[in-house]
Homo-oligomer: 333 residues x 2
């Protein structure tokens, strides 16, 4: 009974998740969403996210509209990461009685503004009293069974493709917290970074391009909501492989380097999180076709290797090679 | 802009729900769950419930196991109220870091103990840090489109059927709070009432009997989670009708009257809530067939009338007739 007094903070989020895995069926663990077979042709994908005031958002940097937008975007991003088209979401909201009604309406305006881009309705939910604002969203989507994107599908030799830019959301947060920063940025650049933080776009737009490819096998992937390094590490862990990443191919460097010194910039790009981009692993020639279709909005940053480690290289030899741990993840406790 | 400083507690749960309705499609509002057409033969039913520590449960009366059991039961009950067979649930959990890991494990044991009775898995969720324990559950089920049970389906002349007993959960709570009460109860009776509160059973067992009936039209109904009077009032409001209820047919009176005076007993039966029984409205002859099938576990308590009010009668003339308001509902704020 040595562990009977163990607290949640002693073992952290990952430790707790491990303890709770035996309560879930094996086949649904380890992806951005769960896949349920409910239909002869299409699988149902389900994903849940909880946002807590003071942990995931704060009045200082996030309006109620943006809390709603980001909550919707995070869940739609999980669906995109599974290859699923969104059907609907539900919203479980608990909040103190002294919250402004207008705050709640703005939250819903933000939710629907993001959702409407993808014709996705809010189909229900629950509201109740609490001492802290908590927004719990469950999103459902559908996907053809052979199109399900899983973390465990990566194969040695696969090209690693990332969409968009990483570190931008983290940079936007910094600009909101410290408006005096970034005097070298143009107005347009400043707005771009802040928007990446306040109103990120789930990458559902990438899916139709994926289905146009001549795919001979399932794609591996997830979204980069908990950071790019975390996404690569999770894919490698679930697929039993490693990755070789080339720093020089990572996007966003010219802009971010105007804002902070190199070390901080790399930390934002690799660990910043909340960029809600896609990290995909697929055969090299298919990856190149995808890049052509996405027209500059995605790059190949490296390849899958057999050794279970992540090697971060620099072809220009400015930075030494680095080995990233496969177990480093984002911890909420 | 008179209302720009209006607080959530000023308008209450129902007032807030009304403000948020414009953000949801019309067709999904007003039932225990939302119905999504995702399949040629079966509709998907989705329902969400949020439980907050100190509001919906407390250490004084509820173990972690029972919090889990009740949360699962409440959601499965919503599915039963829609006529849907459960597929799966997701769990969004936020909690302080100083919660015991064993508490969380007991919560999941309670969840799965209730769910396993219906072969329903936990297929995912989210865990994060918060200052208050919040359990947000979303449940999914499937139902044949012509079997969907809706609050709006009641017709004048329908018999009103209730399963099980009402007021038992409220009585069980009282026995937990004040163990010195109920000295006239047998041990068996005491345990029965406490179990009704701690480990209620969703009435999914009723559905197969319903589908055996020769139904010529959809059934009206909902569950009595927010109280029997609330369920009747909601069905009447959604169907544009009223109800005539006979006190003498309400079950559980002999047991509850041993515990508290009549006025309090009627309040528990009508407004106690959390009994998770079904309130169904269907043609009188079909209702009688259902009673036969359920073998004493359901009664007809009255009928649907055209006038939009709920008349509570007493054929023994012990109590005067009473008119219940159609607008009285359960308020969480």
């Amino acid at each position: 009974m040595k562990n009977s007094h163990q607290l949640v903070k002693d073992i952290g989020e990952q430790g707790l998740l491990k303890k709770l895995q035996p309560f879930c069926p094996n086949e649904v663990i380890g992806d951005d969403g769960a896949v349920l077979t409910t239909h002869p042709d299409k699988d149902l994908v389900v994903t849940t996210d909880v946002l807590v005031d003071g942990v995931h958002f704060s009045d200082r940097t996030t309006t109620a509209f943006d809390v709603g937008w980001r909550a919707a975007a995070a869940n739609l991003s999980d669906l995109a990461a599974m290859g699923a088209e969104p059907l609907a979401i539900t919203v479980g909201l608990s909040l103190p009685g002294d919250v402004l009604v207008s705050w709640v309406e703005e939250l819903y305006r933000g939710l629907t503004a993001c959702l409407q881009q993808y014709d996705t309705p809010i189909v229900g939910g629950d509201i109740c009293r609490s001492s802290v604002i908590t927004v719990s969203i469950t999103a459902f989507g559908q996907v053809l069974p052979d199109r399900v994107i899983r973390r465990s599908n990566a194969r040695v030799g696969d090209a690693i493709v990332i969409t968009g830019c990483h570190g931008f959301s983290r940079a936007g947060l910094e600009l909101l917290l410290y408006p005096e920063l970034g005097c070298q940025l143009s107005d347009r650049e400043r707005k771009l970074l802040i928007k990446a933080h306040q109103q990120p776009q789930p990458r559902l737009d990438v899916l139709p391009y994926l289905w146009e490819l001549n795919l001979s096998r399932p794609i591996a992937g997830m979204d980069s909501s908990d950071g790019l390094a975390d996404a690569i590490a999770q894919i490698c862990r679930c697929s039993g492989v490693g990755a070789e990443i080339e720093r020089g191919y990572l996007t966003g460097v010219p802009l971010l380097s105007k804002l902070v010194p190199a070390e901080q910039m790399w930390s934002w790009i690799l660990y910043g999180g909340e960029d809600f981009e896609l990290v995909l692993c697929l055969a090299s020639d298919t990856a190149k076709s995808l890049l052509t279709k996405l027209n500059g909005d995605a790059v190949i940053i490296g390849k899958i290797i057999p050794e279970p480690k992540i090697i971060l290289q620099d072809k220009f030899n400015v930075y030494p090679s680095q080995i990233l741990s496969l177990s480093k993840g984002f911890q909420h406790f």
